[in-house]
C-alpha cells in the first residue's frame, strides 16, 4: 500500500472515530484520533498478519491495545483492514454488539486477543505472548500500545522490569505520549518526568519520535524498532502524539478524552476530514 493510500486510511479512520462516538454519544475520540497514524502504519505497513483470525496467531505478528478506551481507532482499523465488515462499526457500544465500549475477546471479535480497559495490564499480556512465541520457535513479533497516563499504574513497571531482566527482545511497546489524561495534563496529574531516562534505566532500548502524527515518521520509527529486536532487549517507542489530532477544536486540550461531539461539532469535525474513496461505513 502506498503512502497516499495509507494517508487515505488515516483520514477515513478519523471520520469513523468521530461518527462512531457521535452515534452513541459516548466513547473516547481524543486518544483515538491521536493514534490514527500509528494504527494505520501498524496494520497497513508494519505487521505481518492474517485476517483469517486465530487466537493463537502462530506465525503472525500480534498486537495488544493496553489503553483499551481508544477502541474506536482499533475497531476502525480492524474493520478497514479486513477483520470484519465495516458496517459493523455501526454497532459500536450498542446492545448485543461485538464492538464493546472497551475491546474484549468475550464476543469473539476477530483481531482482539485480550480484554483491556482497566488500565495497566496490556504489557504483561504482551510479554506472555512474546514468551509463548519464543517457546514455539515463532520468530514473529509482539506489539503493544500503552497510554502515557496509563503508566501511573504500577503493574506496568513490574512488566518493564521483567521484560528487560529476562531479555524479552521480540517485543515492541509504543507509548502514546500525548501528555494528557482524564483529569488534565499528565505533568499535573502524576508527572512521568523523564520517561526516556526511566525506560533506559529499566534496561529497554528506547526510541523517540516527536512527530507521532506524521505518517512517514511513524512508519520509520516502527521499522527502526523492528531492527532493534532480537538484540537481547525489549524495545520501547515514545511516540509524541496530539490528542484529538485532525480536528482543530479537539487539539491542545484533554477535554475530548472521553466526550463525544454533538451534531454541530461533528459536522465541523467531518468537514475538516472529508470522506475518502474508502467511503463512510
Amino acid at each position: 500500500m502506498t503512502i497516499e493510500q495509507l494517508q487515505t486510511h488515516v483520514q477515513q479512520c478519523r471520520r469513523d472515530i468521530l461518527r462512531m462516538v457521535h452515534a452513541v454519544n459516548s466513547g473516547h475520540p481524543g486518544g483515538s484520533l491521536g493514534c490514527a497514524e500509528f494504527f494505520t502504519a501498524l496494520y497497513g505497513r508494519i505487521m505481518d498478519y492474517s485476517t483469517q483470525f486465530t487466537m493463537d496467531g502462530i506465525g503472525e505478528d500480534l498486537f495488544f491495545l493496553s489503553n483499551g478506551h481508544i477502541s474506536p481507532v482499533y475497531y476502525s482499523t480492524l474493520a478497514r483492514f479486513g477483520f470484519f465488515p465495516v458496517e459493523e462499526l455501526n454497532t459500536f457500544r450498542k446492545l448485543n454488539s461485538r464492538l464493546q465500549g472497551h475491546p474484549t475477546t468475550h464476543e469473539e471479535l476477530p483481531g482482539v486477543r485480550i480484554a483491556t480497559g482497566s488500565l495497566g495490564q496490556g504489557l504483561s499480556v504482551a510479554i506472555g505472548a512474546a514468551l509463548a512465541k519464543k517457546l514455539n520457535r515463532d520468530s514473529k513479533l509482539v506489539y503493544v500500545l500503552q497510554g502515557d497516563g496509563e503508566l501511573n499504574e504500577g503493574q506496568n513497571w513490574e512488566a518493564f522490569m521483567y521484560a528487560s531482566a529476562y531479555k524479552v527482545d521480540n517485543l515492541i511497546t509504543t507509548i502514546d505520549y500525548n501528555g494528557r489524561q482524564i483529569d488534565g495534563d499528565t505533568k499535573d496529574v502524576l508527572d512521568t518526568t523523564d520517561l526516556y531516562a526511566k525506560l533506559k534505566a529499566f534496561g529497554w532500548t528506547v526510541l523517540e519520535e516527536k512527530e507521532g502524527n506524521h505518517l512517514n515518521r511513524v512508519i520509520d520509527i516502527l521499522e527502526k524498532a523492528q531492527s532493534e529486536t532480537g538484540k537481547g532487549k525489549p524495545v520501547a517507542i515514545l511516540l509524541h502524539t496530539e490528542m484529538g489530532n485532525g480536528v482543530d477544536f479537539m487539539m491542545g486540550t484533554h477535554a475530548w478524552h472521553g466526550k463525544a461531539p454533538n451534531d454541530e461539532q461533528l459536522a465541523i469535525a467531518l468537514k475538516q476530514n472529508p470522506e475518502t474513496d474508502l467511503k463512510d461505513y
Binding site: D56, I114, T116, A132, L135, D138
Partner: protein, 315 residues
Amino acid sequence: MIDLNFKEKKDTRSGFGDGLTELGRTNPNVVALCADLTDSLKMGNFKKENPERFFQVGIAEANMMGMAAGLTIGGKIPFAGTFANFATGRVYDQVRQSIAYSGKNVKICASHAGLTLGEDGATHQILEDIGLMKMLPGMTVINTCDYNQTKAATVAIAEHDGPVYLRFGRPAVPVFTPADQSFEIGKGILIQQGSDITLVATGHLVWEAMIAANELESDGISAEVINIHTIKPLDEEIILNSVKKTGAIVSCEEHNKFGGLGESISRLLTEKFPVRQSFVAVNDSFGESGTPAELMKKYGLDASAIVEKAKKLLT
C-alpha cells in the same frame, strides 16, 4: 465407622508440586510461573526439569497474572503459583479482566490458603478467596483435601479448557484418599452414607468432618459425609440427594462463612430443597498468629466444632 487410619501426613502443596512435575513430563504445553515462592509452592522440581518452561516473575503478582494470560495465546497452559492471598485479593482485577473475562486457560494455583498457614498471621491467611473467585463468571473453583487429591486435581485441570482456581494449603495433613484416584471436576465424593445429618466439607475440613462423623456415630447419630472438592461448579445432585434423606446439613470450610461453600449450598437449597443448615466456617473475622491446630480450634473449624453444630442442628 469411617476408617481413620492413615499411613502418613503430607502437605497438599507437595501434591501440587508433584502433580506439576508429572505434567511437565507428559504435557509439553504446560508452563509454570511463580512469584518468588518456588520452594513454598514445591515448584522446584518442575523448574529443574523444564527450565525453559518455568518463569520466575519476582514479587510481582499482577504482572504474573497478565503474563499467564498472554502465554495462553500460542497454546500454552500456564500454572501460576503463589500464596492464595496474593493469587486473589491482591490481583483481583488482573484475574478478572485478563483471565476470566478474556476466557484464558490459566490455572491459578494458590497455596497457604486459610488459617492453617499459621504463624504468619492474618496478613497472609486469606479467608475470602473462594468467594472472590467463585463470583467470576467461568471460573472453576477447587479446594483439595489431601496430598493425593491435590496431585490428581493438578493433573486433571490441565485437561480442562478454561480458567481454574486451585486452592491448597501449607501444613502436613493425613493422606487418606487413594493415590490412583481419577479426579473429576465438579463431582463430589460420598465418603460415608448416613441418615440423620449431612456433613459437606471441602479442603482441610474433610478430614475433620470424617472424625466428627465417627464421634456422632458413637452418640447414635448417623452422618452422611461428602467431600466437595469443587465449589464451582457445585455438585448439586450429590448434595440434594443427601439432604432429601437427612433433612439437615452442616457445611464445613476453612473460609469466611460469607461467600464460601456454605453460601453456595444455601443458595442451592433455597432454590431446590430447603432444609436446615449450619455453618462451620470463620465467623466474619480475620485470623491471627498461632499453630494451625490452635487456630482451627479457636476459630471453630475442628471436628469438635462440627460435632457441636451438628448436634445443635438436630435438637
